[in-house]
């Protein structure tokens, strides 16, 4: 009986909330604010869940996000991103870049120890570098390092790299991909070593136990160079089904997970969740877009592309598809980051303007069937997207509906990912696609927009070609001066907004939830987990005691 009553209430609450919970974008925390002041304390366990299981815990070999989640806690890099996306030292205390931008000299921290007690030195970095550029190493991250002309160890704590040409993304590439313990790996085949599943690192956590298919248990590294992490244990449970994961969260089997927009806005808006959990919200480093095949006779004309941009209401897509948890995209960068240019042409929803542009290009409904035509051809095209991503499919449906209103017939085809990529994208057999890019914090997007990157399997698959953009992309990656880079990327965004090779649709928000006993979480543009070692559970709130 209680059960029924409770669920009736639940359904009632859902009904009331259905019209939409609109929050201000950019507000990070939505938690119970009756904060008590607590002292940081050591102890307790953080349990998080993942759909996939890690495969390799050496960062340079890992291709999946689960592997990087764990490897990121075990390995540190020379540099890392600060919360404002500037680059700060991690294992490197400082560095100098030569005037011509060709030479970077890193000065490493002294006294940092691998978790087996051996000291970390510049030789470990050189070893990691030599491993990653080795032809036999199956890594997806080689390319940045192939730009290096010479890498050398000057002394135990000084490491220097010389580039062939100045290469701005170079600095950020010296993260945790290239730091490996030379004393454990020298002379061994990296794909065959036990390090893959039993890594020795120098990060805040070390792997204690890995039960395949079930969980990975990590323990804090007490001699971590930035100080012992407060939370003693970090458990990574593998739960392949997202619905099961959400139930585990409610039953207390998980402390942290990423929520879907539906879970964030509706299903976690209950008393229990408000009391026991804290929710966060910040833009993900990715955007979803509709890309045109620029070789297509209609989409060659920028006015047609502009017309379609005017006919799409981005706000509506965000409200319906993401339950409002996102922001409109205006270019290939995330709002409120330094390369983002807020002052570009924005295509506010304007179907009249769209119709007018189409009419100017000769598209009129001459036979009165509701579909525009020109030279006897109907304006009809197909949007392709990949299976398994409902957000994209729903976005396509809304676009289909909006374009029907201005007289364009849109078909939607949803394809299995491999078919989609191999048969349609690679062979350029598409008119328009809905896809997303995740973007690195470094603004270099040479591979996506440069006109030289249009071969099969390369990423300028729409065939975009603009000499000015080519030049700006080149300029942006050849200087370390942030102001100059900013100028180049701002201009690129203006051009892209004017020419509309993509219709930039939205930047979704990440919406993680964490049990409220965890304190010290400081949301930032790069998320929440960057300062995990500084999270803590106050003594009186600790849930899991360490077994002796």
């Amino acid at each position: 009986m209680m059960f029924a009553r409770k669920y009736l209430l639940y359904i009632f609450i859902i009904l009331i909330l259905l019209p939409g919970c609109k929050e201000k974008t950019g507000s990070y925390v939505q938690s119970n604010s009756k904060e008590q002041v607590y002292e940081p304390a050591y102890g307790d366990t953080l349990i998080t869940g993942s759909i996939g299981e890690p495969s390799v815990l050496i960062p340079m070999l890992a291709g999946d996000s689960a592997s990087h989640d764990i490897a990121g806690l075990i390995f540190n890099g020379l540099v890392k991103y600060d919360t404002d996306l500037s680059i700060i030292g991690d294992l490197a205390e400082s560095w100098e870049i030569s005037k011509d931008g060709l030479v970077i000299t890193f000065h490493l921290r002294k006294g940092v120890k691998w978790s087996d007690g051996v000291e970390f030195t510049a030789n470990d970095v050189l070893f990691g570098f030599n491993t990653i550029i080795d032809d036999k190493t199956p890594t997806a991250y080689k390319e940045d390092f192939l730009q290096v002309n010479k890498a050398e160890v000057l002394d135990k704590y000084t490491f220097r790299v010389t580039y062939k040409k100045p290469f701005a993304p170079a600095l950020s590439s010296w993260g945790n991909l290239v730091v490996l313990p030379e004393h454990l790996l020298k002379g061994k085949d990296i794909t065959k070593t036990t390090m893959i599943r039993e890594p020795i690192g120098l990060g805040p956590y070390k792997l204690k136990k890995w039960i395949p298919g079930q969980e990975l248990i990590l323990e804090s590294y007490r001699d971590y160079f930035e100080g012992r992490p407060y939370i003693d244990r970090y458990i990574y449970r593998i739960i392949p089904d997202p619905a099961t994961m959400f139930l585990e969260l409610q039953a207390g089997g998980l402390d942290m997970m990423g929520l879907t927009p539906l879970q964030y806005t509706k299903q976690t808006d209950t008393e229990i969740f408000r009391e026991n959990f804290q929710k966060f919200r910040y833009p993900v480093f990715s955007y979803t877009h509709m890309a045109f095949n620029l070789k297509h006779p209609w989409f060659k004309d920028k006015h047609i592309r502009q017309a379609i941009a005017y006919a799409i209401d981005k706000k509506e897509i965000i409200d319906v598809v993401l339950f409002g948890l996102g922001s409109p995209a205006t270019g290939p960068y995330v709002p409120n980051t330094w390369p983002y240019n807020p002052n570009v042409k924005k295509y506010e929803y304007n179907p009249e303007k769209a119709k007018q542009l189409l009419a100017e290009a000769g598209w009129k409904d001459t036979n009165g069937d509701g579909i525009l035509d020109k030279d006897g051809k109907k304006f009809e095209f197909t949007i392709l997207t990949n299976m398994g991503n409902n957000l994209r499919k729903n976005t396509a449906t809304i676009i289909q509906w909006r374009l029907a209103k201005i007289g364009i017939k849109v078909n939607i085809r949803v394809l299995e990912w491999s078919t989609f990529v191999n048969e349609f994208i690679d062979k350029r057999r598409f008119e328009a696609v809905i896809l997303g890019w995740s973007i690195s914090p470094d603004p270099d997007q040479y591979d996506i927009w440069h006109s030289s990157k249009t071969r099969e399997k390369e990423f300028n698959f729409i065939g975009y070609n603009n000499p000015e953009v080519d030049e700006l992309l080149e300029k942006g990656r050849r200087t370390f001066n942030i102001e100059e880079r900013k100028k180049a990327y701002f201009r690129i965004q203006e051009i892209l907004a004017e020419e509309v090779p993509y219709i930039f649709l939205y930047v979704p928000d990440a919406t993680p939830i964490v049990h409220s006993r965890f304190k010290g979480i400081k949301p930032s543009p790069i998320g929440i987990s960057y300062n995990l070692p500084k999270w803590y559970v106050p003594k009186p709130l600790q849930k899991h005691a360490m077994e002796p």
């Binding site: 495969s55 291709g63 199956p138 395949p212 593998i238 392949p240 078919t419 990529v421 591979d447």
Partner: protein, 331 residues
Amino acid sequence: MINYILKRIFEMIPTLFGITLISFMILHLAPGKPTDVLADFNPKITPEARERLEKMYNLDKPITVQYVLWLKKIVKLDFGESFSSDRRPVIDKIWDSKQPLFERRLFITFMLNVITMFVILIIAIPLGITSATHQNTLYDRITTTSVFIGFATPSFWLALLLMMFFGVYLGWLPISGLKSMNYDSLSLTGKIIDRINHLILPVFVYAFGGLAGDSRYMRSSMLEVIRQDYIKVARAKGLPERVVIYRHALRNALLPLITLIGLSVPGLIGGSVIMESIFGIPGMGQLLFMSVMTRDYPVIMGIVIIVGFLTLLGNLLADIGYMLADPRIRH
């Protein structure tokens, strides 16, 4: 008899070979490659790097060559290495000798299926018998309707509802996995109870869907037997109905069930893929699902071989069991 069994075992070899050939071809016909996971839409991968990767996995060779390479290994019982970036031997993934027996994927799936089959039989046989003896009564209609509801209910949906009710709302049963966080600190009895608790929901959901087939088979086979002359004779002799049904009729009515059990092996293992993914059970089904998603050919093929072998073995055992139980077909 021995000759027959030997002949059957011998026949299994070309069948198994055929299974691998067809599976291998179908697998490679599907678009996509194991390297896609690493390389698709990753701007940091140049076409050259992609080619290097493909070469490393022999994916640049014609499919026939790839099959022969794989076959050469498999006849030596070498399942090869996984294509996922950990490059572990396939056999370690399916049957990890470093883990205790009840943590090995094949064992977990096998046990789960055996327990489920046991539960199904325990419930389905009496259900089938009683609805046959009470044919066309209200009882018969109710049981028939209920088992068909079980058959028609989507298992993932039922699983989620039960997890919500018993796991979240009542908090009686664990939601996923095979053991609790504090498992290592439990006493032996505690450990056993903990394991059983974790099995209740998956086994129930799994068995609920399987009841219909076996109980309906049992019912119709029982009905057929009851109409036989020797049953009339037994009744005419004045034997009590209990003895007629359970001693004389049941034995013969059980025969078709032997075949049914033998044939249900692939179905059960197919069901494991779904159940193990929902309940987060680290068995072979879950491994198969993840491997298909990443196009990890050697692992998929390894599992196909094992499942194929188990299916053939199930058929063989069913036939042998049938022969042992029924003198009429022994020759």
